[in-house]
Amino acid sequence: MPKLTLDDLKKLREKARRTTVLREGGDFRAKVTVHMGTCGIAAGARTIMNTFMTEIEEKDIRDVLLTNSGCAGLCSKEPMITVELQGQAPVKYIELTPEKAKDIFDKHVLNGQIVQDYALGIGSEKTDVS
C-alpha cells in the first residue's frame, strides 16, 4: 500500500463509509422488507431476498435498507415484500418471483413508481388497538 495523500484519505473514507453506514442509523431513502415466515421461506422468499441483495450490490446502491420480518399473515400470497419510501405509505407486493422483484426494485425502489400489477395494496394494518 503506497502512502496516502489527503485526497486518497478522503476517497478511502467515502469507500469505507459504505460499509459502516449500515451501523449508524443514517437516513435510508427506502426500506425493503422481505417477509420470511416459514410460509414465505417455503414459497421462495430466500430467492427474493437474494435477488434484492444482488440488485443492491450490482447497482452499488447504498441508501436502500434491506431487512426481513416474520409472516405477513397472508400466507397464500407469499412470497411477499413491503416497500417503504421515506415519507410515503408502505406498499405490499405479493406472489413474487425474482423477475417481479427486479422490476419492483427498478421501478418502485429506485424510481418511486408503484408497480400496480404486483401490489396488494397501500398501507399496513394497524398494530395499535387504540
Binding site: L4, T5, L6, L12, T20, R23, G25, M36, E57, S69
Partner: protein
Amino acid sequence: MEEQTSEKTYRIHLMVCAGTGCVSNNSFAVKDALKEEIKKQGLENEVLVVTTGCNGFCERGPLLVVEPGKIFYQQLTIKDIPHLVEEHFLKGRPVEKLMYSPPEDKTPIPVLNDIAFFKGQVLIALRNRGLIDPEKIDEYIARDGYTGMAKALTEMTAEEVLEEVKQSGLRGRGGGGFPTGLKWEFVRRASTNNGGIKYIVCNGDEGDPGAFMDRSLLEADPHSVIEGMVIGAKAIGAQQGIVYVRNEYPLALKRLNIALDAAREYGLLGENILDSGFDFDIKVTRGAGAFVCGEETALLASIEGRLGEPRPRPPFPAEKGLWGQPTCVNNVETWANIPVIINRGADWYHSIGTETSKGTKVFSLVGKINNTGLVEVPMGISLKEIVYDIGGGIPGGKEFKAVQTGGPSGGCIPKEKIDLPIDYESLSEAGSMMGSGGMVVMDEETCMVDVARYFLSFTQDESCGKCTPCREGTKEMLNILTKITEGKGTEEDLTLLLELAQSIKDSALCGLGNTAPNPVLTTLKYFREEYEAHIKDKKCPAHVCRELNTYTIDEVACVNVGKGCDMCRRNCASDAIVGEKGKAHTVIQDKCIKCGVCYDVCRFGAVKVD
C-alpha cells in the same frame, strides 16, 4: 472458514463485543458459533460478523448488537446461537428472551438506545464504541478517523492547533486535571538540549483497583489515541511518541500494535505524513505493572530502562523529561479526545460540561452496582444519575453507602453527597478526586474502616520506598488500621492517624505518597462513627471485620422454623456448635473462630451475627 470481507454488501452486521470483559465471558466462542451457524443456514453472504471493542455494558456480556436497528442481545451462550440465527437473521423475528430486561421491570428492551445504561451517556472519547472493528483502520477512517489529523497537518499552523486545544478547556484525564493546552504550550516553548528532539508520551499505566478505562479505550479504538498523539506532536513540535502500556493488557497491546502497523502502512505515521512535510512515529513500551509508574517521572524513568522511581519536580517533564528533553505526558483518554476537538472545534467541546470542567469523562463503574461497566458522561452529571440511572442502583435492594472515586489516591463520597456534580473541583472539595475514572460503589455491607485499610495496604504494597514518609508512614498507618479492624484500636489511634496522614501529605516525594492518606481522611471525615464503633464498642457495624463479630443461634427460630436442621453443626470446622437434629443448637464462643459459615448455611435466619 473463509474470512468475510467488509468490501461486500451485507444486510445485517453483527457487532460482537470483544473487550476483555466479554472475551473472558467467552465472546470469541460465541462469535465462532455465530459464524458457523450463519454459514450452516446459508446466510454468509447476507450477514457480516464484526468484532468490536468494549461495548461498555460489561455486566451483561457476552454482548451482541444487531445493525441496522441496534437490537441488543446479552448474556449469550453458544447454545442460544442456532435459535437466534434462524429466528432473527433468517426469519426476521427478534428473540425477546435474549434481550435485556431491567431488574425492576421484566419487559425486555430491544433497542440499545432505549436501555437506561446507555441513555444518559455522551460519547466523545468512546465515539466509535461498538461501531468499528478496532483491528481495521478503514473502519476508523469511515467514522471520520484521521480527518482531525489531516486538518491539523495540512490546514492549521502549530499555534492554531495549540490555541484550539487551549480554548476547548480540555483538562488531563489521568487524574490531576491540568489544562492540556497549557501543558502543550510549556513543552512547545521549552528548548531541546544538545540537539535532541521533543517527545510525547501516552500514559497507559492504569493501576487503580477497579479501573479499566485506558485498557478499554486502547482495545476498542487505538487509532483515536494514535491520531490524538500526531495532532499533539504537530502542536508541540515533537518527533517521537511513546505509548506506555502495562504488560498485563495483552489485548490492548495487540490491537495497539496492529493499529500502529496499519497507520504506518498508510503513511499516517512516519515521514512526510499526508505530504505535509511532518514526520512523526510512535513506539510502544511495555510496563511491568508497578502502580508508581503511572506517576509521570517514574514512568519516564521506566521508559529509559531505569528503576521506576519518581524524582522531585521541578524540573517538570515539560522542561526535562525523557532523556533530558522536553516531554509531554498525557493520559490515554486525553489523547482520544483530541481528534474530535480539532474536527468539531473548541467551541463545540467547550459547550459540554461545567464552568471549569469541559467535555466528558469515562468512568469504570464497579462494586455494588447493578450495571457494572464502562460509561462516558458529560462533566457536571450528578453522582446520583450515574449510580441510579446509568448504574441501575444497588443489587439486592441494599442501601447505597458511598462511592470511592480516584482509586487509592481518591476518597469516599458518602450518600449525603449523592447530588454532587461530577467535576474536578467538587470532587476535590469533597476530599476525593477525579482520578483516572475508577468509581467503586459501596453498599451497607461495606465496612469503611476495612475499605480504608484495603487501599492503604495497596499503596503500602506499591510504594517504591524511595522516600521515608511514604515507605514508613503508610506502613504505620496500615498497622493502626489493621489494629482497629481487629478490635485492638484506641482513641489515641485516630489522632495519630490524622497526624500521620497530614505529615505524609506534606512531605512525600510524589503523587502516590501525597494522596495515599486520602481514603483514610475521607472515611474518617464522613464515617467517624464507624471507626468509633470498632474502637469503643469493639463492633463492626457492617459485620465485615470478622474478629469483632459474635455469632449466636436463636434457639426458638432454630427449633420452630428450622426444626433443628443440624446444617450449622455439620459445617462448623472448629466443632464450636453443639446440638443434634431436631433440637436447639448453640455456639460455644470459646471455640468459635468467627468464620461465618454457620451464618451462611442457615436457611432459617436462626444464626445471628452481632
